[in-house]
Symmetry: C2
Subunit: 136 residues, 2 copies
DNA sequence: TATAACTTTGCAACCCGGTTGCACTTATTA
DNA sequence: TAATAAGTGCAACCGGGTTGCAAAGTTATA
């Protein structure tokens, strides 16, 4: 089932360094999306730039995707195993206005929209604001 | 038909100062959303803080609404006459990845979504990325 | 193995949008 | 008119994001 961090990195063509495995571990343990500032706090002594570049590498290799819920720093969450970050993989995100956590609702695909004539679609971001089950 | 800026401000309970009428004029002439940095450039000599507070006032009084398309500074666009920024008034936004303009698609309401159990909805942001009719 | 080439990391500095404190001006009210 | 409140301009600050550069670590080559 759940494979080693190292394997997960290799599968996405990311050289598994110590730092990267640690970051992946944090992301895996996390049930909700995490921002760079939050990630920084998870480490006793880690450099912001390194973490930043780690996230960028992960994102480029589609190990994680970014979520801008509009309420602060950009957050990141693990992609599903089979994810290629294409339009098919797009899902709704939920931001809780009470606890400020941001959830991936993987089971809810973003609804399709009929754009005006001559507008073409590349991607969609849909963020629902509200109260999450934990805060209710 | 199109009423005076002064009237439009009064209707939203905003005291019509010279500055505010100028900003409203810019927003009205604009077919797409505009950011604070962009707004600054529209004036020969205007203070960022004043413009900032003007936008905040307009937003609080629901004369304009903000749009975070995730590609830079927050943008602002006029609300429709009858808008009260409630869930009913929510519409899809479109960001053109070529010209970087952001459009209000007032005629396209945000689709409804079925949230997981015990998640409640307060608001929704939906931004479609793609190429606009002008850039096509 | 020794060396060269490339990659990753850490540190510092910077950029920029957003925000606030404060004094000054302008409008409103008593 | 005097007192009060609202709006404006300037400067400084904050925080997330980003980059340059040198040191350390890794991989490839002879
Ligand atoms: Mn997600
Ligand atoms: Mn809009
Ligand atoms: Zn919550
Ligand atoms: Zn365009």
């Amino acid at each position: 089932m759940s494979e080693k961090p190292e394997q997960k990195l290799r599968k996405r063509n990311i050289k598994p360094t110590a730092m990267r495995e640690l970051v992946l571990k944090v992301l895996t343990d996390q049930k909700t999306a995490i921002s760079l500032p939050e990630l920084e706090q998870k480490f006793e002594k880690a450099d912001k730039a390194t973490l930043y570049r780690t996230l960028k590498t992960f994102e480029k290799q589609k190990l994680i995707h970014s979520i801008d819920d509009g309420t602060g720093p950009v957050k990141y969450a693990l992609c599903l195993e089979e994810c290629s970050c294409s339009v098919n993989d797009l899902h709704v995100h939920f931001h809780c206005t009470k606890c400020n956590k941001t959830y991936c609702l993987h089971e809810i695909p973003v609804p399709s929209v009929n754009l005006p004539k001559n507008f073409s679609l590349e991607s969609v971001d849909m963020v629902v604001q509200g109260i999450c089950a934990n805060c209710k």
